[in-house]
Symmetry: D3
Subunit: 283 residues, 6 copies
Amino acid sequence: MKLNSKTTILGLMSSYEESKLVVFGAPFDGTVSFRPGSRFGPSAMRTGSLGIETFSPYQNADLLDIKGCDAGDLPLPSGDTKAALDMINSFVYNIIQDEKTPIMLGGEHLITLPAIEAMIKQYPDLCILHLDAHTDTRDTYMGVSLSHATVMRRVWEKTGDKRIWQFGIRSGEKAEFEWAEKHNYLTSFDLYGIENALDIIGERPIYLTIDLDVLDPSVFPGTGSPEHGGISFMDLLNFILKLRRNTIVGSDLIGLVPHYDVSGISAAAACKLLRELALLLAI
Amino acid sequence: MKLNSKTTILGLMSSYEESKLVVFGAPFDGTVSFRPGSRFGPSAMRTGSLGIETFSPYQNADLLDIKGCDAGDLPLPSGDTKAALDMINSFVYNIIQDEKTPIMLGGEHLITLPAIEAMIKQYPDLCILHLDAHTDTRDTYMGVSLSHATVMRRVWEKTGDKRIWQFGIRSGEKAEFEWAEKHNYLTSFDLYGIENALDIIGERPIYLTIDLDVLDPSVFPGTGSPEHGGISFMDLLNFILKLRRNTIVGSDLIGLVPHYDVSGISAAAACKLLRELALLLAI
Amino acid sequence: MKLNSKTTILGLMSSYEESKLVVFGAPFDGTVSFRPGSRFGPSAMRTGSLGIETFSPYQNADLLDIKGCDAGDLPLPSGDTKAALDMINSFVYNIIQDEKTPIMLGGEHLITLPAIEAMIKQYPDLCILHLDAHTDTRDTYMGVSLSHATVMRRVWEKTGDKRIWQFGIRSGEKAEFEWAEKHNYLTSFDLYGIENALDIIGERPIYLTIDLDVLDPSVFPGTGSPEHGGISFMDLLNFILKLRRNTIVGSDLIGLVPHYDVSGISAAAACKLLRELALLLAI
Amino acid sequence: MKLNSKTTILGLMSSYEESKLVVFGAPFDGTVSFRPGSRFGPSAMRTGSLGIETFSPYQNADLLDIKGCDAGDLPLPSGDTKAALDMINSFVYNIIQDEKTPIMLGGEHLITLPAIEAMIKQYPDLCILHLDAHTDTRDTYMGVSLSHATVMRRVWEKTGDKRIWQFGIRSGEKAEFEWAEKHNYLTSFDLYGIENALDIIGERPIYLTIDLDVLDPSVFPGTGSPEHGGISFMDLLNFILKLRRNTIVGSDLIGLVPHYDVSGISAAAACKLLRELALLLAI
Amino acid sequence: MKLNSKTTILGLMSSYEESKLVVFGAPFDGTVSFRPGSRFGPSAMRTGSLGIETFSPYQNADLLDIKGCDAGDLPLPSGDTKAALDMINSFVYNIIQDEKTPIMLGGEHLITLPAIEAMIKQYPDLCILHLDAHTDTRDTYMGVSLSHATVMRRVWEKTGDKRIWQFGIRSGEKAEFEWAEKHNYLTSFDLYGIENALDIIGERPIYLTIDLDVLDPSVFPGTGSPEHGGISFMDLLNFILKLRRNTIVGSDLIGLVPHYDVSGISAAAACKLLRELALLLAI
Amino acid sequence: MKLNSKTTILGLMSSYEESKLVVFGAPFDGTVSFRPGSRFGPSAMRTGSLGIETFSPYQNADLLDIKGCDAGDLPLPSGDTKAALDMINSFVYNIIQDEKTPIMLGGEHLITLPAIEAMIKQYPDLCILHLDAHTDTRDTYMGVSLSHATVMRRVWEKTGDKRIWQFGIRSGEKAEFEWAEKHNYLTSFDLYGIENALDIIGERPIYLTIDLDVLDPSVFPGTGSPEHGGISFMDLLNFILKLRRNTIVGSDLIGLVPHYDVSGISAAAACKLLRELALLLAI
């Protein structure tokens, strides 16, 4: 007798073997300093995605026509940051060794570090598009070097200067803004300049990391660190659609803290963006 | 001794007999597939309308100057879709026979079908303005032909081609979009083109049906199916104000699911739109 | 490469083939008349069960020592009651044909009908233990014969008199109480008399159906129909433990409506009871 | 054409003229010092009572067999305490002049003062049963003499010593406890001694005032001033049932603050108690 | 031994003596007619401000570089409006006598009256910038002259004509709009015209009072009176930034009702605006 | 000019120097594996304690008669467990060197370890009363030795066998129960046996650590790990009152996660227990 399937994100039902796209959860929020809970983000997206159609009128494309799977959540140990990051790293590395494209669901932003470390082994000229309300470029945070607040600094140590494009940034220390302007491409407050960025990147592979708090809190209240003055949903969707002509080799969507949003509109935003990302990466 | 009055929507206090406008609730959500609860929409609007002024600075008009009543909620049987629709149909038919204008508060979108069926008996050339996030034009949904997801298809079977103008649509199956473009006037994503629609409609009577999820979820989180990328409150308000020179013979506001919005801003949006609609229809 | 597993209820990880116990969700609430939403019960229990230990100090037993699986949720069509019930019926029938024991998670109470119909084919002398705040023995409800409010009447039509023991009942029509006292064994308000019931049942197989609203709303606020004066958690747990010497061939836990309980204590209660049930049935 | 009825509390549908029982709301909370919002109590009870059966298995009696009406909410001016109290006073006085029995729904506890003042004109030997977590017997509160915290002191000024029985009290200033023990009958923490109280009262008429925070916060979280260590629902229900042989000439249920309880179990408790009260007073 | 500090708003840590800026709470909401609770606004801002950076990328300035303190909440008596207003008046007067600049956190809007009365003693030519969804210019409200709904009328009685600039207004009685247009400068719906206002004001000192419900409810759901069609966060922020060349001698931020917003985005908006205001006033 | 005071817990207003009792917050929840957020416990208790009277009718004693202060929250670095524990350790040590009695508010349970380490330096024969739903006696948890799940094992390493009395325990691994029975005094499910424990302890000093999840989730829903079958509020209160004849040299109340309880009844329970503890320790 055939087993019924459990809830999978966006209803993705291909086997891992036949999938081009692999979506998985990394439910870790161990270094969060203010309001934790993004560890419950992936499971909230599984429930929320029941309300999302498979067809995108924006791309005139349908999830039913792609090969993708939901690999579930990684069993990350809470309280042991290093072990959690290692587990993410090898999972992502396996996915790209299997010639598939990963989309990781957070969790907090530190999980992006091991994913990029895995990607960069395969793609040494990897470029990073980073959408976020926060710079995340402290050297250390409260004495800790592996932190949600330092993750893009750690990433930069792998890539070197001018390989990271930051968009939507509107919060950080003064020193972080100064550092980021010197070492990265920094766009404060909005997403303007993506066309120019894509021109500079050219044929190089791209990793796209989206902290969903780049959205305005009115659109995405389910966040640990609401930072007003953010971008609209359509701005973010249009940003994603502009990436169509480029090579995205991996991506993540992080920062959904479901219990701060009983309406579920934050999970719905995350799921709709995931659908558009999935269509972009898998077709 | 005179009895005190119960809470009425927007404080409308005329008797049915003297009213030009009749507002009533149709608390039915029996075919909803994702998140139910719009059956509680009308009662949430009665409470929420306590916070709404009677004066509209947008129309420079006041509810105190119109004749309208709140006829309460229809006692619709849950679990028997057909009986519920019949009850709505005859209630609406009576209202128009009494030469009054109905505004129905939902409930789910299927309730629009019997209302329009009643209207069309009186106004055979009725035109429909349909604002919604979803096409609602499936032929059947999970095997069911009377469904929130099929309602505009059933309406079309009564009106025929090119009598329905759909606005704000951003979700549906691919086949639904294709069908709607062929048989109706379909405007995806926004409300542009209303002036042109009104030109085509000319002197014909209009029924206006608004699924409040046409609004962006940031404005209206109290919905069963949050669909981001929606229109703003002022876009919807301005749309309504543009209808002033036309003949609206009936209307509905559906889709408020109050328990997904503890802030009550969704009920407040519904009530403020209802005030503007009431002023539009009753003056 | 081995896929990571998705969240399973209580962490049950055996394959279907090797399992003695099969837990699955039946997310249907189509006939609910007051506050719907139990369709989200099973997924809330999957998330909630992450906080539950596998060891029971009450039974001195551990889930790690049993063979059980989570078969996921049945894809039940909303709006087509009959099709949904048929799907449940054949799924349950297959489980018992495979010589396994089902625990079904609701969903509303009507789902118990097809489960019992499947059981009774195999066990014609099946006895029913029914825990609930409500009699659920109307003949029809608002004209509907297949309803959450009629389910135990429909079950009785299969079993005949004195095969159903009802406990904890404290709400219903006067006629329902009178009917139930005549045809079933009715215990109002509490769970007293279970020992006597078990004596009468003797060696016959038992199906145990628990509407979680039998618990007091203080313990279980996540219900569509809070009915005060209910039993305590320990009363219900002790009731379950008393069944140890009998043959339970199937069971269900229904009625969790997660969005009425942001604290999650209702899901936690359901999961802890499920652990005790699972240990009882699988050892 | 006949109008549909609006939602009435417990579905009471008799006309005022034919009613023996008159239920009405007094949505005033102007003197509350901690968490306001009981002004929304009556409307939450109207919605909540949709989930309550008309039949009581505790009294074996049915609301369908009594004559009662819901007179709606009094339009009390916020910010003008005296005017609000006057309006309540004359409304209650009219009810008893019409030889009907009032049940008033709060609102805060100060509304009990004008109700009792109206009753005492008719019944000079009126005795008061007062259930509450708080003594409410300050002389003034923050300089104010008409306050939720002084209401039973003001009542005592009308009745004199040993006419008030206080039950369930577990919070107050030391001086209040001492004062209450001297002038009233004070039962701290529980409801013991009601039989004795009824013996002393004898044939005299009784006004029953219930601040719902006498219930434990686990049973009734929807309160402005949660005070743990309260009584259970069944304790309160049994207290009410013991009054059957006495003459209750009026009653109130106050203190529901619905927005502190998204589950609605507090409104459900209030409605179920109201049903039992209504049956007690109207049969 | 040195005591640890309690949570202070925005982490302001200077002593009162060394501070140029004094932030304090006025937790009074006694005249609110619809949904009360702004009395909890200041404490919610203290918690919420833990998530706010001290650096503003909008002003390129840092709170670490200013001298400011959090003076805590005034112990205002609930139920005695006049005493509460007097306490505010003398506290504000002391602050300006000490040559410091106050920012008062509400609470409801009536608290602005005593603050302005204190300011005007020192600055007889004080001009008022008033941002709000509501006119607040009734003469009396439900018979009360000191009310949230009359506050700007009372202020006008101190200033005379054309000293108050009102922005963002979109709700009120018809007579209020007419009155305000005659006696004040009234800008309905948006914030346009601030440059012109500043030109007219010239060198005169300004008091800035912001009812946060001027923001759209999507941005600021934590309000007692959600009024859709409001301004965006960036509109309000840019308005504040335009005041840089003028002399703001005092300000307030009022109207946060935290329990209507479980996400905390409203408190976050208030805190971020407070940071910008603090930087504007203290540098 | 004198500054107004900020909100202090229970209104405690003595200076540190004159205080016998020092209450402070330790807002750390870095090792929590399931639902975090107890870092916000102390601030929620400060707000919640505004609703608590200073007089206890249970002890016939008043906080106005004791000398106590609220020392605020320790600025604990998130992400650096060891540094946080060190900071707590030295703060507690200073308090007892100053001959005062600490009550620490959590935060998660790991904070109890450094507090006890500080106490034991002063009181080598310290005995521990531990109330909790969970054993907390794992040796390591997910590879981590300093964890909320291991804290009582670490404490035992300081005290040795039979110095810890555990009460209310109803969750843990099988091995934990076995270990605890061997090395500690373990009372599962309830608080029975406290008199016997106090007899054995005799004159030795006691540290009382209360994980508030020892309470039943119906009483205390604001917890990260709801575990049904817990004790009632009055059971816990009576337990505390029984300690009157013994020497409590320090205590903590941990585990309040405010955002899981919008009603605030959990914070109210914590505050009322704190009042009773404060009266017990300071008189």
